[in-house]
Symmetry: C2
Subunit: 189 residues, 2 copies
């Protein structure tokens, strides 16, 4: 009886692809086992439980996204960097909806601390160097930036903008303009 050669890495990757196709909520241990041609029970040799699978998808996604953002950010500063970051973020979310959704599950603190999420935070703060913000303004600005990106992308994904004909790309561009403007004059008012 030949061995299937299942590893946690291959499982995670397959799970991530499955998530992009059918949604994270439909990523099931059983479905994954079928893909690998093994029985579902066999996967529990590699995985503690179904939740771990989702956490691993999230960690993979965080790392992938951090890589892309880092690439987009290289050699840029100011608004240029802001736009590059934002577009890398949005493009990733659209190319990998399942992975992106998985990123939203809340990791326990130590897992989060060991994840690529910290790189996101660092890079976001790096962008703000172009806008010369000190604490606590920097934290407020980071939170607003992240909120705007995540909010826009997730509303776009769940069809929240569907009812208005205006192209979302245009609204996105304007939103980034607005973010740049407000960061340039922080604190607001």
């Amino acid at each position: 009886m030949a061995r299937a050669g299942v590893t946690v890495e291959r499982l995670t990757l397959a799970a991530a692809e499955l998530a992009d196709e059918v949604g994270v909520e439909n990523v099931t241990v059983a479905a994954l086992a079928r893909q690998f041609g093994v029985k579902d029970a066999s996967l529990y040799f590699h995985l503690r439980n179904a939740q771990e699978l989702r956490v691993r998808i999230a960690l993979l996604a965080l790392a992938e996204l951090a890589d892309r953002v880092a690439g987009a950010l290289a050699g840029r500063a100011g608004k240029d960097a802001l736009v590059a970051f934002a577009n890398a973020y949005r493009d990733y979310a659209r190319a990998h909806p399942g992975r992106y959704a998985a990123m939203q599950i809340d990791l326990d603190p130590e897992t989060a601390a060991a994840s690529a999420g910290v790189r996101h935070a660092e890079m976001t703060r790096a962008i703000l160097r172009g806008y010369r913000l000190a604490e606590p303004d920097q934290t407020d600005a980071v939170r607003m930036m992240h909120s705007t990106f995540h909010g826009f992308v997730s509303l776009e994904r769940t069809g929240g903008f569907r009812h208005t004909p205006r192209a979302t790309d245009d609204s996105w561009a304007r939103t980034l303009d607005a973010l740049d403007a407000v960061l340039s004059n922080w604190p607001p008012r």
Copy 2:
């Protein structure tokens, strides 16, 4: 054998409360049936399937939130209205995390059109009257506002801000200041 007096309305309300307690993903037909003291199969007389339950929670939440926002908005204009809207939104999300999460599932177009979601859109546009924006600026601004609110609230909820000590209330206040500033000078740049 006494009848349990199950109605779709009572089911939906109980499901919404359950969602706030244990999360939407754990709202199960079986659990609901236990609460009502009936067998799970009996609920399929009132419900087409489990998905319909989640849709009904979402519709209930949209309506409740629209009511609260409407109340908060009464007699206010300009930044005052913006802040009132935003706080009503955030407060609802924090008081009813399960209901809020349910709101994010994407409804099919006709269900969405018949939902209280349209009232949200109207009220958001009403706020912008204080900022005197014409189309397509208005749509862009609405989308940015909604993105910011939703993004902030959902990141706050999933613990995205946990790693920094700064109080989220303060960041929230600053974010609203920023939004007001940018809306006052739209289009940005």
